[in-house]
């Protein structure tokens, strides 16, 4: 069973020369009770994709199917989800809680929508959801301003859960938290997935975090999913050079600073390079191998279905044959 399927999701912003394709024909398949990790750098469109799926950003094209129902879109292109089956948790718990509403009211609001019962039953429900995120029931009386960042994020999670979603989207939920609090929130998400069997889309710039929580990983670059596959497969045998670069860049305890990737800075998303948008930075692309002109002229989207991990790379080798990333980059540098 698939919990959520999105086909050819496209989001555009701005007009004229400020026009930007933030999400470019992205397909998402989320099997029931599994977690899809979406990883990418700033400007990759990962957060916009998340917002588009919950109807906060209008779609220019594409459709979202949940539990076999195709969701309708409003006239401006926003996805309509009248039964609130997709919920999202935002990055900044200081912005996502109404400063003038107590914790209990915020969670209670999600319950009310489902049709509430008596006051006592409601309080019990609120307490149950607070307990689910390991918060004390007394916290319901408090205003968000009196909570710590970690507590706020748990309240935001409880509120999303109270709407009983089929799919939960977590957008960079740990990146505004302090290190010692992050792990508690990650553990909570893991627990919710394992115990409640919620289907999740976990969006983050941190590959290690995404790997820890996800069954599958989708790597985004300039609005496209350039590689998608089972977590272990993507991590151990990445097919796209950008994924390899990301893996290569993850700092490890006691490791050394890797040899310079010479990747340069990401291109201007208003003006993406032609052909493969990664080619100006690609260590195995036309800059290292001048004969690979294909990368400049042909969009690697064509034929992706046949490649390992549906990689958007003309030269995505079979995962088994991929050399270790370091060797690959040294090879690129030496030329």
């Amino acid at each position: 069973m698939t919990a959520l399927e999105a086909r050819s999701v496209t989001v555009r912003f701005g007009r004229g020369r400020r026009r930007l394709v933030a999400v470019d024909r992205v397909d998402v398949t989320l099997p029931e009770a599994s977690t899809l990790g979406v990883v990418g750098e700033s400007g990759s469109g990962k957060s916009t994709l998340a917002r588009a799926l919950v109807g906060l950003v209008p779609l220019a094209d594409g459709e979202v199917v949940i539990d076999g129902d195709r969701l309708r879109t409003a006239r401006d292109g926003r996805v309509l989800d009248p039964r609130r089956r997709i919920q999202m948790i935002f990055q900044d718990p200081f912005a996502s809680l109404n400063p003038r509403m107590s914790v209990g009211d915020a969670i209670g609001e999600a319950l009310t929508v489902r049709g509430g019962s008596g006051r006592a039953a409601r309080a019990a429900e609120i307490a149950r959801y607070l307990d689910l995120v390991h918060l004390d029931a007394q916290i319901a009386e408090r205003m968000p301003s009196r909570l710590s960042g970690g507590q706020r994020q748990r309240v935001a999670i409880a509120r999303a859960l109270a709407a009983r979603p089929d799919v939960l989207i977590a957008d960079e939920i740990t990146s505004s938290l302090d290190v010692s609090v992050q792990s508690a929130v990650l553990n909570l998400m893991r627990e919710l997935r394992n115990e409640l069997g919620i289907s999740m889309i976990f969006v983050s710039h941190n590959l290690a975090t995404v790997r820890y929580l996800s069954d599958e990983i989708a790597v985004m670059y300039l609005g496209r999913v350039v590689e998608v596959g089972a977590t272990e497969a993507v991590v151990s045998s990445p097919a796209h050079p950008y994924t390899r670069a990301l893996l290569y860049a993850v700092p490890s305890l006691g490791g050394t600073v890797p040899a310079d990737l010479e990747l340069g800075d990401p291109p201007d998303p208003h003006d993406p390079p032609p052909g493969c948008p990664f080619h100006p930075r690609c260590p195995v692309g036309p800059h290292a191998y001048p004969e690979r002109e294909e990368c400049i002229v042909r969009d690697p989207r064509d034929g992706a279905e046949e490649r390992p991990h549906r990689a958007f790379c003309h030269f995505a080798s079979a995962p088994a044959e991929t050399p270790r990333p370091e060797e690959r980059f040294h090879a690129a540098r030496d030329r």
């Binding site: 750098e41 919950v54 609130r84 929508v113 205003m143 600073v257």
Partner: protein, 623 residues
Amino acid sequence: MTVGSTRIGQALRSPVGVVASAGLIGVIVLAIAAPFIWSDDASRLDILHASQGASSAHWLGTDALGRDILDRVLVGTRLSVVLAVVAATLGAAIGIPVGAVPALVGGRIGRLVTGFINLAVAFPALLVAIFVAAIIGVGAHGAVVGIAIAIAPYFARLSQTLSSSVAGSEYLAAARMIGVRRIRLLTRHVLPNIAEPLLITSTIAIGDALLSLAGLSFLGLGVQPPQYDWGRMLSEGLNRIYVNPEVALGPAVAITVGALTFALFGEVLAKAAGTGSARRWLRGELPTAAAAAAPRAGDDVLAVDGLTVSFPGGAVPVRNVSLHVAPGEIVGIVGESGSGKTLTAMAIADLLPSTAHLSASHLRLFGSDPRTLSAAQRRRLLGTSLAVVYQDPMSALNPALRVGRQVGEVSEIHHGISKREARLRAVERLRAVRIGNADARARQFPHEFSGGMRQRAVIAMGLMAEPKLIVADEPTTALDVTVQQQILRLLRDVTESRSSAAILISHDVAVVSQLCSRVVVMYAGRVVEELDVETLVAGPAHPYTAALVASVPTMESERERPLASIPGRAPTPYDDLPGCPFAPRCPRATDRCRTEMPPLERRSPTHRAACWHPVDVLEEAAV
């Protein structure tokens, strides 16, 4: 709402708040009661005593018909205030809905309305009021409508910014996702968050309307005889200012006091809503740091012991920190937000905010104690030997100056070379940090640079002199992972090629361990452990360090096991715990930890930890 109302209560009890509320109550009471009490006196004609100056019978004199001016000023309160309130309310009623249009409608119409509001705000209110009054007809009606229309754009502008900020807020998005109904969205989420500023503005607008009305009446375009308000009386008084200046005084004071009262009351409310209760700046005695470790001799680039940074009000964010950096060495400082790592670095770089107080039992930077140097000497020493790289490259560069100028400035000042030469050297340094097309780039402004390039430019700035110490405060936190590694690499190359020492500050243990030979772990303003990278990887001794390492998922973390987590909250810089600052969150803590501060004890030549019950690697392995 409770939080907001106590804040407002507090603000009203402040001296300014008391004055403002007393004034407001006074004006309201006068507006209601004065006409009942003095109305007869104010209209009693007394031709015999017409146009007199101040006397014991008529404290502010009499007007041309012999009526008492003080009585008339008091009675005039009602008309002046009522007209102002009506005008302000009417203005709000017109402006607020218009301002909400862009957020509700959006698109082309929304932009058009926004443009119109911006245009209308540019026109001076008094002129608009005069012109509208000219159309409607001279008199109180015309003046009120004129002023209402004149101040409506201000309300529209405010309501537009407020509604668009709430409309774009994540809490509204979250509520919408849950499926909260439109009415409830408006009543529970939108209105409470915009009502306060709108009410405050309305209060201030009443003051403005009062002044504008007085102005119009003063010009003879407002209230017409036989009605009278303060503005009309002022205009009558002005004609006699040569003979009896005090007759103008009454109305003038009334207008000023009336308008100021509303303005002041509005500002008190605004202050309460905006900044919360005022911060208290108690000057407490500074806790003097006892020297923990004996000063080490040698030619260290930096040697500091017992470093303590405190702020007025009792915050002590850095407590008794020792730090030694040998030439060419890269030392990492790891800690979470609030651990004091950044303030430690800024204290070393002499960049603390001016209210901060620094004390240290021993401080030597490049062989001399900066505290004993004159300001000019210190500037020269630090300007040529110390480079600082900041956390956010987006804000660390001055947006109004070209990058080349900013980079070259150091040499211009400290090496006394010309602007042209400084620019050439800046281009060369930009090239050294691998900024392509450096000559053209030097001519650009920071906003034309990407984040990674800006950080490179900041590093280039530090390289203008020959730094002996580079202090890098979270230099990669704001950057993407692929760019992050490039900057770290650059920092390493730069320190190697110039054999300068560096302090790298980060919340990320892994990042620090990649670059540094030695790592200092800070918690709650103190150094809790100082260790070499091998020991850090093999197993740290302090439970906090151990938990910090274990709580971050890595590419090797087992996905089936929960991550280590640290319950509770770190103490604030105001808390002065007698024992170990980590004790309240530590699973190994005993009574001793809570009452007695563990000293930073040497465990090996390269390892020191401050813990009564350090983690034993062997013991852990056995578990």
